[in-house]
Symmetry: C2
Subunit: 271 residues, 2 copies
């Protein structure tokens, strides 16, 4: 009892920055989570009816680089204690997308009204974590320097299929000088739960990218003559696949407005 | 005593393949050590008068990627027990180069006649070890497939200088498809004592290589349109630097005819 009281006393004046962020979003605040609660893991969100959840789970298992699962709820539960003791997945994300038959029908800041007892939540690792690891080692990240969204591309790399879930891998691109590209492989290899090592570098056409200056999502960034484009599997892949599956119902986060968890980025490093 | 006798009994019928190789070279056999004693570390050899040894040691310390020290003798001693209990550096390498004032003056198979009490031996890690690690993971290595020497290039990457030792880094090149290039970075990063991760990939001109088809040492290999040239720091660097320093006296191994040690390649992996 004493311990509990002491913990509460500590927490009240100084909750985790991640929890502070979730409480703000729960209270109605809206905005990109880029740079929010530095050091804490953010996640992509996929909420599906149980009927589709096991196939989606298999899809993630088959495609761990674009779809690394960092948390999952019980059927019908809006809580994922492993990602935050008081986390409520219905309210704690800044903005959601509600999908019906493959179309976005609503972009609310709270999905309590859409909640159903058969929903299963998947939280998938996000590139913000490995970008923090790159920045911590002094690596320049072009789209952050230019204050734009990371450029993303649909590739000709087919994901492994599971049930209705199939489609190409979407990748994000960051240009680096060659020695930095090598270092970036090393750094991000330590973080398999947040997309891990790149899936490709150089030669964009080999993975079906016709024009590096025209990303399918996000914003273009310049690649200098002395740089190499480096491509990582991207968390937009599951959203693209859920879209293509034209499920009767699904909920995702709004791009760039992620779930902020209480996990620390550094605990994601496998070595 | 019992243990020693037992060990000798075991060793007599079945000495280590590495020791068998050294004994054969000691007995006069000559030939490339490529593929000899699989699983065992081979090393580049640099034997210098003590007068220059500390500067060369500093040079290696400053340039660990081209010059990773895996063994070193006491002044005047031809033995390096850490690399092989009965190793005799004067006789156990298939062929040597004896240098005077920067010129090769002899290429004997035994340097007992050249031995001096002031000589210090450095053994530096060699790419054979990381190539074995790549092959073990099913990675194709072009020059091995084509049964030629690895192509090597003088770069515009300046080594750190120490005393008379200075000059450009020499690199070896292996072409890979992009996903394999990423895997090769991961695999070789585990082996810092045998050159470790690549120093460059793609864009050869950025490191001063004008024509990838014209290596400065070794043989050219084709780089396909869907491949990327990947460059590792090379153990020819110290030989090139010793040459340029025009020392009054030095001994090295003859290229491709290395010292075979009793160290296991897998013990070189840091993780």
């Amino acid at each position: 009892m004493t311990v509990l009281v002491a913990a509460q006393q500590t927490e009240t004046p100084d909750p985790l920055p991640s929890r502070q962020a979730r409480l703000a979003y729960r209270g109605g605040e809206v905005g990109s989570t880029a740079g929010v609660a530095p050091g804490f893991v953010q996640g992509n969100l996929a909420i599906l009816p149980a009927e589709y959840a096991s196939a989606f789970h298999r899809f993630c298992q088959l495609n761990p680089k674009p779809c690394p699962i960092i948390g999952m709820s019980d059927v019908g539960s809006p809580h994922i204690p492993a990602l935050g003791a008081d986390l409520d997945i219905r309210t704690d994300v800044p903005r959601y997308r509600v999908w019906r038959d493959g179309e976005v029908v609503d972009e609310p800041t709270d999905v309590t009204g859409y909640w159903r007892d058969d929903l299963v939540t998947f939280v998938l690792g996000c590139s913000f974590s490995f970008e923090e690891a790159l920045l911590d080692e002094g690596m320049p990240i072009r789209h952050i320097e230019q204050n734009v969204r990371v450029p993303m591309y649909r590739t000709n790399i087919a994901c492994g299929e599971a049930g209705p879930f199939a489609g190409p891998m979407v990748v994000s691109m960051r240009p680096f000088k060659p020695a930095d590209a090598i270092r970036a492989v090393q750094i991000t290899s330590r973080y398999p739960a947040v997309h891990g090592a790149p899936v490709h570098l150089g030669h964009p056409h080999l993975i079906g990218i016709k024009d590096i200056a025209k990303p399918d999502y996000g914003d273009p960034v310049p690649v200098a003559d002395d740089e190499i484009p480096v491509f990582w599997a991207c968390g937009v892949t599951p959203q693209s696949v859920i879209n293509a599956a034209r499920l009767p119902f699904a909920i995702t986060h709004s791009p760039g407005l992620m779930l902020v968890t209480d996990l620390k980025n550094r605990t994601m490093a496998v070595i």
